[in-house]
């Protein structure tokens, strides 16, 4: 068994809603999970079980209440749950890729630049970044006439494909996928499955959420049911 690239250790999360009288909403607790390079671990469980929250904690977007999120970053191992903001920023550039459920649209920035930006942040040259962006957008069937336009006016599916291209463009050792195939047709779902297979073969560790059973069966190395980490409403 290869050493894990990502290791979650007794991770817990709840939300305290101060505007609702301090209501505490438990999300997950006691998550322990290892993900090795080349593995695609799929988080399973019903909507609301905390799958997205787990991905967001790994990315440093949500804070963890307890536990550790250890990510191997070259010679170092970084605990995302305890790292300084600038360390997390550096991890996001070079080590952790993330495809969110929805593209966050930036006014005036064209689709091609949205995608290429993630590659230049990773450290690739502008030329290489642009070449990869073109290749990915083509592969994901985003029409070339849209590349120079900001994605604000794109359809949901087009925006999502731009988002996927952005997430896959760099060679991050760890990739987090939050329902990347949700709003895609069969042809584009197949394209995404192909991209995931390529990443796996290249040794990328992947943690993903897929609602589509067919996609899940095809990409998963194993499926982890997160309801077993459900936090009890204390």
């Amino acid at each position: 068994m290869t050493a894990p690239l990502l290791s979650l250790d007794s991770l817990a999360k709840s939300f305290t809603m101060h505007l609702q009288g301090g209501l505490v909403i438990p999300v997950v607790s006691g998550i322990s999970l290892d993900v090795a390079p080349g593995e695609c671990v799929v988080l399973g469980g019903p909507s609301g079980a905390g799958k997205s929250s787990i991905l967001k904690m790994i990315y440093g977007n949500y804070r963890a209440d307890a536990g550790a999120i250890r990510v191997v970053d070259g010679p170092e191992t970084v605990d995302v749950a305890a790292a300084a903001p600038r360390r997390v920023m550096a991890l996001r550039r070079t080590t952790i890729g993330y495809v969110s459920q929805f593209l966050r649209v930036i006014p005036r920035v064209p689709a091609l630049a949205v995608v290429a930006e993630a590659a230049t942040a990773f450290g690739l040259s502008r030329d290489e970044a642009e070449a990869r962006a073109r290749r990915l957008l083509t592969l994901l069937n985003v029409p070339e006439r849209l590349w120079s336009l900001p994605p604000a006016t794109f359809s949901g599916g087009e925006q999502q494909r731009v988002n996927i291209a952005r997430g896959f463009i760099a060679d991050h050792p760890l990739l987090l996928l939050d329902e990347p195939t949700a709003s895609l047709d069969a042809r584009n779902r197949a394209a995404v499955v192909g991209l995931i297979e390529t990443k796996k073969a290249a040794g990328t560790a992947i943690v993903g959420i897929f609602h589509d059973d067919d996609v899940r069966e095809r990409v998963a190395t194993r499926i982890v049911d997160v309801t077993r980490f459900a936090a009890s409403a204390a």
């Binding site: 809603m17 505007l19 967001k56 977007n61 804070r63 070079t94």
Partner: protein
């Protein structure tokens, strides 16, 4: 944002900054470190102490307690209150920029746009008229102002153009740190978007560090890496920008985030 601009020594350090206005507190024990290439947004409502903090950081106000450290170009970190007059001038004219909410405060309204940009170059020793004009033209283009307007005074410019001119004036000397006070305040929304995108690009391309004071959380999300939420003069919550905005912990931050209207 480039790896090369991120070094391991902070550029600016605020240590327990406190400011009393008589008995009233403007700012209380605020501390943080800012690294090269990092953009920090300071958010909060009017009267929360944002502007006081910005003035303390940029040496325009003397703190009642605490201090501000800045790493000079020679690599030596200095307390900004102990700098000589010449060193302070160097910071204000060259190594720092200050973008005011009202462009009129940051521009000289009685002279041409070209002179507004060229003046900062002359302050750092540029003497050749042709070169100064050429550099001013190139900066006007960078901030999307038609170089044909170089001889016009800012009084003949629209609000958005004035703000972009102010940015050009500030960035022409390649500062390492820029302070911005509500840079998009008072502008039309479409003008704001253009300005934000422009600033976002410039900050990333030039590897600038910046402290941006804003009450607009959308501006903070778009421009900043980290955020500091102020209330009653205190920094009540701080962290990665998307973390604080998507998973706010403090009651006041939750209130701020939940109060945004979604179009």
């Amino acid at each position: 944002m480039n790896e090369t601009t991120m070094t391991d020594t902070p550029l600016l350090t605020a240590e327990s900054l406190t400011k009393y206005y008589g008995a009233r507190i403007g700012c209380r024990e605020v501390g943080f470190e800012l690294y090269p290439g990092e953009v920090l947004a300071v958010v909060g409502e009017s009267g929360s102490g944002k502007s006081t903090l910005l003035k303390l950081l940029s040496g325009q106000l003397e703190p009642s307690d605490g201090r501000v450290l800045y790493r000079m170009r020679d690599g030596v970190t200095r307390d900004i209150l102990t700098l000589s007059e010449a060193e302070r001038r160097f910071l204000f004219r060259t190594d720092w920029g200050f973008v005011h909410q009202h462009a009129e405060q940051g521009l000289r309204m009685g002279v041409s746009a070209g002179a507004n940009v060229g003046e900062r170059l002359m302050a750092v020793g540029w003497r050749h008229y042709g070169k100064i004009r050429e550099e001013a033209e190139s900066w006007l283009e960078r901030v999307e102002i038609d170089p044909d307007r170089i001889d016009d005074r800012p009084t003949a410019y629209s609000g958005g153009m004035r703000q972009r001119l102010q940015i050009a004036r500030n960035l022409v000397t390649a500062p390492r740190l820029v302070f911005m006070d509500e840079p998009t305040g008072g502008l039309d929304v479409s003008v704001q978007a253009r300005l934000l995108d422009l600033m976002r690009g410039l900050v990333a391309d030039l590897g600038l560090a910046a402290v941006v004071v804003t009450h607009d959380l959308a501006v903070a999300r778009l421009l900043s890496h980290r955020i500091l939420v102020m209330k009653d003069g205190r920094a009540i919550e701080t962290g990665l920008t998307d973390q604080v905005l998507d998973d706010p912990r403090e009651p006041y931050t939750q209130l701020l985030v939940s109060s945004i209207l979604q179009p």
